[in-house]
Subunit: 160 residues, 4 copies
């Protein structure tokens, strides 16, 4: 069950090809996973400050389908794809928001894998409350995830 957040492409994110520079999709992935946590009533910032947890990335993969362009409204769909011990995998779909009655257009898909660590980069467990919330989302139950600034994906934009 993905959580969707929306951004508008910034001029700074384009390059001289006239399209979004490819590294910036990883920045959007980050926004997606932060908003996924927020939709569960959790703040990534509190994970760092209150629980001394950081989530460094050990693997990032992006498949680019169609280029995003300046000023596009982009939807970032994020869902937890795996949770095992200290390892979390998030999956993402980046879509160009339809302007009229069209379907959203798939721009990119990808995954990131994270290891829960303390501030010395030693492995630790995800706090129980975070794990429970992610598992609820993975099971497809609504939980607390339908908060006001987020919307579930519609039929036209569901992950394959």
């Amino acid at each position: 069950m993905p959580v969707t957040t929306q951004v508008r492409v910034r001029y700074a994110e384009t390059d001289q090809m006239g399209i979004v520079y490819y590294a910036n999709y990883l920045v959007w992935f980050e926004l997606g996973r932060v908003e996924l946590l927020r939709s569960l009533g959790l703040a990534y910032s509190q994970l760092e400050t209150d629980h001394q947890c950081i989530l460094p990335v050990v693997d990032a993969h992006c498949r680019y389908r169609s280029p995003a362009r300046y000023d596009d409204e982009v939807l970032i769909e994020t869902w937890p794809a795996l949770l095992r011990g200290s390892v979390i995998k998030f999956a993402y779909r980046i879509l160009r928001k339809a302007r009229g009655g069209e379907q959203h257009e798939l721009l990119a898909e990808g995954e990131t894998v994270h290891v829960v660590c303390d501030d010395r980069l030693d492995r630790k467990s995800l706090p129980a409350r975070y794990e429970a919330a992610l598992r609820t989302l993975m099971a497809g139950e609504p939980g607390e995830s339908g908060r006001k600034t987020h919307s579930r994906t519609t039929a036209s934009a569901k992950p394959s």
Copy 2:
């Protein structure tokens, strides 16, 4: 046969975890492939201006082994891993440069896949001169690639 280029980690590239933000490794990959072309006597900029070719990325993958930190001297090893029709795959290894007699430390590995396109993002062939130079490098022959600002990898830093 990898081509090696070197960068120093910029303050702007760090994040509040105190390590390099993960999207920036894709920027280093880009520097690596541009320097690979330059080591062959080719300029990516001329590919765009003289041949109306761009090389948009269709797939990027990075496996993070150990975090790069501010002011580290980082080696970017790049080699062409595949060349088939309009498709080029580059592979990369990111290493922290040894300070003394130690071995370089592996920080990340990855690949990017590109499709040669014209400026309307339609597929086209790589100019013959570029293809020949890449094939020479893939065959492990020295060719023109041992130019002064580049060095071949040493035994301590060779790709697996």
Copy 3:
């Protein structure tokens, strides 16, 4: 009469000082002036595509008052400060959004000066419709600027 837009601080925008890297305020200025144009019913993207106008920056100045931090909700207030021939000056205030009944906190102030150019970077005039809209905003008249995604600044956040 400023136009206000809102962003949330991204992890990518922080540095190892634990605060937002200073160059990113100039990215926020850009978002502010784009949203100012949008609030007038104008799109910067159309200025480029339909009118062959670009607005390169000739001067940028930022005074940093208090650091923005990860996950802060930041308000960007933008107003046109000068419009003379091909020269446009925008002024900005960056504020941390108050969480409760407090006042917004001033984080930075600045200005950018732009010269209207064609795609060969030769000076040209701003299209009449854009100039009229900016002049209306400078005169403090409501015009079309109170569109739904924007809000005028409140007393607690007005420019000095």
Copy 4:
């Protein structure tokens, strides 16, 4: 007496105008001041780790003269312009390196003002060794500044 460092424009630093995005000049300023310290035998990283000093920016100003473009070799000239109590001002000139016998071309000029702080952002003094080195450079005496990876500016590129 400026200290000069050199960078090559990255693809990531361009935008769809085909020129370097304006915020990136502030990143180059940062590289310039770090290399200035390094040329004095000082490391900004040690300032943070050994002396618990950070140098947040309170003012940044850049005047853009001519656009930098992809793959340009850019020279960053940096010199300390003022040192008073906890306040340090650096000045910068950004130049496009001449390809043949021509003069370097001025691309931008600017200044940044910093306040020496501890990690809680309270003011403190610059360590004596750093202050002495900067004062030596300001007085125009050679000191330790002519180290191997740096070159003094030549007549064609001296600050006005």
